[in-house]
Amino acid sequence: MATDILHTQNLARAQDFLLKPAGIGAGELEQVMGRMLGHHVDYADLYFQYSRQESWSLEEGEVKSGSRHIEQGVGVRAISGEKTGFAYSDEIMMPALLDAASAARAIARGGREQTLALATRHGQTLSLYEPCDPLASLEDTAKVSLLEKVEQEARRQDPRVKQVMASLGGSQETVLVMRSDGVMAADIRPLVRLNVTVIVEQDGRREHGSAGGGGRTDYGYFLTEDRALSYAREAVRQALVNLEATPAPAGTMQVVLGPGWPGILLHEAIGHGLEGDFNRKGTSAFAGRLGEKIAADTCTVVDDGTLPGRRGSLNVDDEGTPTQSTVLIERGILRGYLQDRMNARLMGMAPTGNGRRESYAHLPMPRMTNTYMLAGDTPPEEIIASVKKGLYAVNFGGGQVDITSGKFVFSASEAYLIENGKIGRPVRGATIIGSGPEVLTRVAMVGNDLALDSGVGTCGKDGQSVPVGVGQPTLRIDGMTVGGTEE
């Protein structure tokens, strides 16, 4: 499907769906914009959204609960310099829109209502996923039986599996952005996810393991390439490894991070600190450091919202800017920030398609999409063989960063000791802490095995959650603080 055709279809569908029932056409949008655009308002936008989501969950062998959620509304924003006025309504109707516009534009005093004719043009957009409806892509009975098969597969692996929890979730979000510069853009975003957690027990000791995946597609994704069942097997494998694990060491040591999801390192250590808002305000440890060397020569890190079907990808961001691949670090040099429109304008930079919001009821901010490091040329076995004593961490739970001090943590959910170049016994409870501006200067080896995560990441910032992706090749980092309990 050609990009422009899909785009026109998306826009037409979004208009039909979001605006037409309320009788909102070009004239009405101009009226709302006119209410905001006095001479003190530099920019305004309207964000219309309708989303449907569902989740099904299984425990004790049966799908016992499920829920559906429908949400719709419009967010109205007016910007004057660095000031933002924001109001929203869950009613997509003219009176509510005009009220919201009045409330939002109160940010700029002295503005007068304008009559304006917006030269509306259709924004550029990409075509990274089909505008499908995941909820309708599978019969409800098939969703239930998919979860049951996942459960059976997990139990079949090992008699020590005592509990299996599995969940299936899908959503479809239709958004339409109308900007004061006349650009109108729309996107229809599917998203699916399947997760499995198992509890295993042996001699009174219990452990758990989790796996899952998803992306911007429909439920058919889980039925192909044996994906759903492979998550079940992976969760059991991980839980059984942890059953054997002994306490992790404590102290500073060489750390080898596996490929894929351990890229959460980049998300925490680098990505957040390079978001435009923190840098405009000077509150990030990376503020004012563009062009400086902040990583080893072997490190090139990008944020790429254009990867087809990925969880973190978007055809256009929530301000109607097409997503792109933004180089953050190029061969060790800090090259770019992640920008939304407001911060880009205030910093004299170009928007990078990273303006995202959780919903119409939230303000957009610079956010990551899919953040990853490009592959190097060292085979991963060679990297492990190069370590005399250290930690090999291949799976992680969550992470967090203090963007001002630059300190970040992420917690391993599967890790092993490395002794004399060989992977040794599994260890548990290893949280790793480091300093964002320094950690990549300690990257000693970069693997040739770049992998992206399986589509499970959700990023939180200022109370707003958005789906993201991460990835990296195997990395050896010389000197990270590992927080186990064994001295």
């Binding site: 959620h69 429908i70 000031k83 409800d140 452990e207 949280t431 802490i433 300093s435 927080g483």
Partner: protein, 448 residues
């Protein structure tokens, strides 16, 4: 004011909406149904470097319905209150219920546990706060922060928020309860910078039901500034095992982990490090934890829980011994126990304060680590393994010696609870879980 049973002067229509939704469920053949509906509005104003940064007008609206067909259930929610949207939500919930499995533990709370009188807990104090007034308060707060110390170099801003709402819970068995509540706050986050250009951020905030209970906004600003600058020029310490003092606002997280470990789902999934722990000592003898749901004006107060069950003061831990779990009706039936009115969580979980204030606890510790901030999620709820990033201060001779950062603190929650030496009387009342600072016997600190 406060809780209202029927005929609320605030938003009587919300009760009607709930009733309509229950009727729709009945018409669809549901044998039972329950509805939660909420309506709220608020204002949030942020000032940064003396300039207005954001003015946000909030309006929250949500309705969720759970339908039962015998022992099968399904749920749906919507933010759209028009009749067609309510019909669609009920239909969606019923469609799901057709596909879920029979679960004999499903259903509404048993009638004998339901709240009969709904006491007024003094939770509703609307604040007629204009945007202009909020701006002035936020400016005063942030200016006080900048005036506190020359090293305060930057700001993430000061925010003033006000929110009020009305929530209704209704069931097909005839329960109908509503609570009006307000929540107002002031917060400030600023950055300090040392001679080498290294920055630290910290914050302070207040959160109350009644705006008249807010401290002077300057106090929040000054406290945020003092917290930020005292962290400047922090360093790593060597890996060691030492006593650790959790400041009250981070000690609260240790109780959250406890609540999660003794809550229904963790127990019936056998995924808790505190399985089968009722009537066993999980803390030293001096520890007393209890819920106080009817505390006036408190942040976690509720006359009834998420399924209409009457709340009352109940011990959780007495003389160090775990007395009960935290259960809703579903978990209680599954575990062959009785609901503890914890559908939706705990309500004002309080820790009996000890005799010492923070300075006293520091003296008691003598030498060790004082933790003021935690980051990361390194908690394994199945095993109790605990390892989180931390920042705080090295303590020598009972006094703060220097700031510490880029370290982790690790142990196992079971050992941490057993090793609780003292609880402070510096109780932090800003949340649903209220405790003073905690002095723990020993943890592994990983550093250089």
């Amino acid at each position: 004011m406060g809780a209202i049973m029927k005929g609320s002067k605030n938003t009587p229509s919300l009760e009607d909406l709930a009733a309509q939704t229950l009727d729709l469920a009945k018409a669809q053949g549901a044998t039972a149904a329950e509805v939660n509906a909420g309506l709220g509005h608020g204002l949030s104003v942020t000032v940064r470097r003396d300039e207005v940064e954001t003015v946000e007008h909030h309006r929250d609206k949500s309705l969720s319905v759970t339908v039962y067909f015998g022992c099968k259930s399904g749920s749906a929610s919507t933010s759209d209150f028009r009749p067609e949207a309510l019909t669609e939500a009920v239909r969606a919930a019923c469609a799901i219920a057709r596909h879920t499995a029979e679960d004999p533990f499903n259903g509404l709370a048993d009638p004998e546990h339901l709240a009969r009188d709904i006491p007024d807990l003094d939770l509703y104090y609307p604040w007629q706060l204009s945007v202009e007034e909020a701006i002035v308060l936020a400016q005063r707060c942030e200016r006080a922060a900048f005036a506190t110390d020359k090293r305060v170099s930057n700001s993430e801003g000061a925010t003033v928020t006000s929110h009020e709402g009305f929530d209704v819970y209704a069931t097909s068995a005839g329960f109908l309860g509503g609570v009006s509540a307000s929540r107002h706050g002031v917060s400030c986050a600023v950055l300090g910078e040392d001679e080498e250009g290294h920055m630290q951020r910290d914050y302070d905030y207040a959160s109350v039901r009644d705006a008249r209970d807010l401290p002077e906004v300057e106090v929040i600003g000054r406290q945020a500034a003092a917290r930020a600058v005292r962290r400047l020029s922090g360093r790593q310490i060597k890996t060691c095992q030492v006593p650790v003092l959790y400041e009250a606002q981070v000690a609260r997280s240790l109780l959250s982990h406890l609540v999660s470990a003794v809550s229904g789902p963790s127990l019936y999934r056998r995924s808790s490090f505190l399985l089968d722990s009722v009537d066993t000592a999980i803390f030293p003898e001096m520890v007393h934890l209890y819920e106080e749901p009817h505390r006036k004006k408190a942040m976690g107060s509720a006359p009834f829980d998420g399924e209409g069950v009457e709340t009352r003061t109940r011990d959780l831990v007495t003389d160090g011994v775990l007395r009960r779990y935290c259960l809703d009706s579903y978990a209680a039936r599954k575990l062959n126990l009785v609901t503890t009115a914890n559908a939706g969580g705990v309500h004002n979980l309080m820790v009996k304060p000890g005799p010492e204030d923070l300075a006293g606890l520091l003296r008691q510790m003598g030498r060790g680590l004082f933790v003021t901030e935690l980051i990361g999620f390194g908690i394994n709820g199945v095993t109790g393994d605990y390892s989180r990033g931390a920042a705080g201060f090295w303590v020598e001779n009972g006094e703060l010696a220097y700031p510490v950062e880029e370290i982790t603190i690790a142990s196992n929650l079971r050992d941490m609870y057993k090793g609780l030496v003292s609880v402070g009387r510096d109780v932090d009342y800003r949340h649903n879980i209220c405790t003073g600072s905690w002095l723990l016997e020993r943890m592994t600190v990983a550093g250089s």
